[in-house]
Symmetry: C2
Subunit: 220 residues, 2 copies
């Protein structure tokens, strides 16, 4: 059975930066499911029109097409129960909270911190679309929304505060084994790391320890 | 077996406002464990000196004394496994994240919104201590830190954003049954409601629906 993931790519198709696509890839890796990625760019809406919408990730899993990283995680959990993404009764609801926290707190800060680097690696055909949609979102130019590396890293570290006591007491955000909450956070670091060489957390930070463990776990 | 909870009280001992004490009470109610509360005020450090520290909640559960709301929840879960507070493998780690989010995001906003009301109901012997410690924390006077009702409610509602999609898809923050994550959030509302008549969320808000369900569940 073939499993295809449409995965956002930069001008260099080996640069895969979307945190939403990283969530899907990490969940597939966690389930130990083979898959291929197809590089995709914002201007190629027609190539994913079959999914009924215009954003990636799109997973084609045999006869089933699923878009949206959360829907993909739910689909994988229901279809392949081994190696749970949501271990335990309350985990799906709590992980949904964590997803929203990531998107509302961390994502804007990381985006503003790596913005210039990210824009620079985009396919030239994607740059006008990306500039226009992000400037609408921020209500100002990309250059105005961008944070200096120093301010961005400082604010990201402040935003990560509630994560640290969890990772001080537990190996993973999901407890004794990684789950989709861990994928949600790792996806943010993979996104930043795909386009920027900036170190987001200090070497003696418990988040750094977790980051190393997670990357080793998934061979990244 | 006796079970005693030292519970922060206002000048009127029937006003019990501490969100940390509410967490402990809600967890005890959830476990369907009988307990008595002892009203306690900040200036009575000597009355809880036996616990080895100076803050409430302090639970005396037979021969065991536990302070700190998180430690009390863990103690109750280990000692009385029925009616789980952390349902499922990953819930304790994820609930710890939610606890820290509540404390770092919601607590300061709620405190600044109900500050004048809260200060007014404190025991006169507690007021100088409370003013001094809170002014140190905020780095300004209580009056300067206080938010207008309008601004406070607006900012609380904004902070509650990541909670709403969870409560739109699930009955409780812990999924299909309430757990300690629900207690953590309800404790914040109980705190505000003990000292202020302000409506924090609109009647058509999904958080309001959840709030009514939770209060009915615990007979509040």
């Amino acid at each position: 059975m073939s499993r295809i993931l449409y995965d956002l790519a930069a001008a260099d198709e080996h640069i895969r930066f979307s945190p939403f696509c990283w969530r899907a890839k990490l969940a597939l890796m966690h389930k130990e499911l083979a898959f291929e990625t197809r590089p995709w760019r914002y201007c190629e809406k027609d190539r994913i029109a079959f999914s009924g919408q215009g954003k990636v990730p799109v997973l084609v899993d045999g006869d089933t097409t699923v878009s949206d990283s959360w829907a993909i995680a739910i689909h994988l959990e229901q279809t392949y129960p081994d190696n749970p993404l949501f271990p335990g009764g309350s985990a799906q609801a709590q992980t949904l909270f964590f997803k929203l926290w990531c998107e509302q707190t961390l994502h804007p800060l990381v985006l503003r911190t790596v913005m210039k680097d990210l824009f620079a690696v985009l396919h030239p055909d994607d740059q006008p679309y990306w500039r226009r949609t992000r400037e609408e979102r921020f209500g100002c130019t990309l250059e105005e929304a961008a944070l200096s590396a120093e301010e961005g890293v400082s604010r990201i570290n402040q935003a990560l505060e509630p994560v640290r006591p969890v990772l001080s007491r537990h190996d993973f955000l999901d407890g004794e084994a990684p789950g989709f909450a861990d994928h949600l956070l790792l996806a943010v670091f993979q996104w930043a790391g795909a386009v920027s060489s900036l170190s987001l957390v200090a070497a003696d930070d418990v988040v750094h320890r977790w980051f190393g463990t997670m990357r080793a776990r998934y061979g990244l």
